[in-house]
Symmetry: C2
Subunit: 411 residues, 2 copies
Amino acid sequence: MFRKLLTLDEARQIINKHFTPKPLGVEEILLLKAHNRALAEDTIAPLDIPPFNRSTVDGYAVNAEDTYSAEENKPKKLKICGVVNVGELPKITVKHGEAAEIVTGAPMPEGADAIVMVEHTERKNDELYVYRAVAKGGNVMKAGSDIKKGEKILSAGQLLGSSEVGVLAALGLAKVKVYAVPRVAVLSTGAEVTDPGKKLPYGKIYDINAYSISGAVRESGAEPVYFEVVPDEAMELRKALKHALESADMVITSGGVSVGPKDLLPQTLDALGKPGVIVCGIAVKPGKPTTAAVIDGKIVFSLPGHPTSSLLIFHLLVRPILERMAGLKAKEAFEVKAFITMRMFPAKGRRTFVMVKLKRDKLNQLLAEPVQEGLSGAITTLAKADGFVEIAENQQFIDAGEEVTVRLLKL
Amino acid sequence: MFRKLLTLDEARQIINKHFTPKPLGVEEILLLKAHNRALAEDTIAPLDIPPFNRSTVDGYAVNAEDTYSAEENKPKKLKICGVVNVGELPKITVKHGEAAEIVTGAPMPEGADAIVMVEHTERKNDELYVYRAVAKGGNVMKAGSDIKKGEKILSAGQLLGSSEVGVLAALGLAKVKVYAVPRVAVLSTGAEVTDPGKKLPYGKIYDINAYSISGAVRESGAEPVYFEVVPDEAMELRKALKHALESADMVITSGGVSVGPKDLLPQTLDALGKPGVIVCGIAVKPGKPTTAAVIDGKIVFSLPGHPTSSLLIFHLLVRPILERMAGLKAKEAFEVKAFITMRMFPAKGRRTFVMVKLKRDKLNQLLAEPVQEGLSGAITTLAKADGFVEIAENQQFIDAGEEVTVRLLKL
């Protein structure tokens, strides 16, 4: 059976037509547990920050006017009328000719409109000598000057990193609404694949993809659901896929999609629901046997059995969809610029991806060194590759020494 | 009390002298749970990969010699002697003049030494016409050609990302030894700080740092242990610090270390154990009041109360130590090059760090725009900053348009 393969862009369009990735739900959780989750609603400040006029230095709260004539040689004398503690409602009012001791972060007392820094004063018992003038509002942070109540601070879809969690804490929000974490069933198929930890019969190899893809699923903000290896047998495969579809929001299989006689996957998927298989083979290298199906509203990706290919296709095709299901805003892929160390050609008529290892030369320039699978093997490639370089279908070659964009596989 | 502040490098040296960060222990866990953990031992391949000579294509196992004279117009005729299934010990031997059907990944049958690709053959019942010669070893991946048994594949200290987990799976390792995750007590101090979720009394602000620092601790491969806000009161502070030291491998406090009258932290730390406070103030801006102590073998960092400053000092000083305690190999800080959008000056005699927001101009060049705290506030800075730019103590200024290195705060 021969047919014209879809280009990568055509495959993306067809997937877009049949499946619109969207968040699966919203849950309210403790802010302490919210790190690395996707915010599910815009955050509107429920209060001014700071909530009150606040001293930004250690010093004395005064009426600015009282200091206007102060000079290094001609200090102004004020009477100390009390102390303003941090974290408390000030108990005193500062009248003209008076000064109240105050520390950084303490609220301004009534009557005062500026703070003289302690470095510009000298104190003798209850008398304060001010050696420098301060303007109205000097060293005072106004209520709401950082954030105004009602202001939008964070947007739905933001990933909550350390800074964002800090911002939510500043607003007093001990709970936060985040998007549900998508569950992704990850299963490997193939008569030759055995689960790690089991004895390896002759002719078999250990399953890699369920493990590497599970890691990549985690890195995309989702939770992998692990399935043991499914044999290349019609009934078993159908049962496993049905179970996977029932127990997860997305299904990713690997293996069992090449043109060998045992490739049951596309037929089995088609029989499970509508519209069934929507992409069956893509003109990319590696990754040609990639299959995508939609079964009654859920998306299934069948990735190649080759470990680096399946991880590559995951990054190109699956990850952007999964991130949107996790509620994350589309973000720039992580890329670096580097100089390629050898000439590279695309496979004829196929968008080609070359795994590369990054290293630095003597001048500290970043180099991208292709990890050639001819010389090593699939696992060695997986262990060595830092990222990949794309060569367009119609490009003749990329010459040694050219600057290329490397999309990173790991951070 | 005035003294000469330590430079950042001097502070690092003193910390190194008093505290050697090292992993806290090793645990064996399921590979399925090992994603994002630090590998605790070198991985030596326990088997060859592939474990057997393996076909890399769909086709026919043959004696290469039998195909040497094959041409497009003059095919060689062979007799099909059987099928080799994937994942099974081959039951047949291929004699001269014979060919066995085989699929990608299946083990080579006895007698055969090459695979003819299916595309170069034509089959008529039990007869196979071979249209192209294949060399000895052609389309066969030799046992051990990817990884040799006994070869070192991964190193202790590697972070287990999706690829590394895949490599361990390929080796059949269902369990893996990883370093213990350090526990880090994170507590905020200060009379003006209230826990999020509680009512905010006048004059107080919500705690930010325990939340943002906890996030940063997670991002460094460690587990934060959250403590409620500790009031600036000698007995309470001592009790909380003792408890924190008992329940965690590292303690990070924030607030309570400036020069205000209520700054009990250094004294309290000194009284808790030897050698006590080893760094008390650093010539950096921001972050001057940073304090470090070692108490009977455990390290305590007291970061500034200002949220961006504490996060900055965490990245500069704490994170490298914490990563080594987590067993992670020293890694390059995540940096990007960008053009700074305005002239920047260092604070006199202090290494200066300027928070910046990254954006792209019309030519898609990356720009670093300083987030000026004079114009906004502490929380706004936290929400906006993508990273920071360093200005050396002795540098006059960095001019607008110069290319700078931005160290990223978030990925």
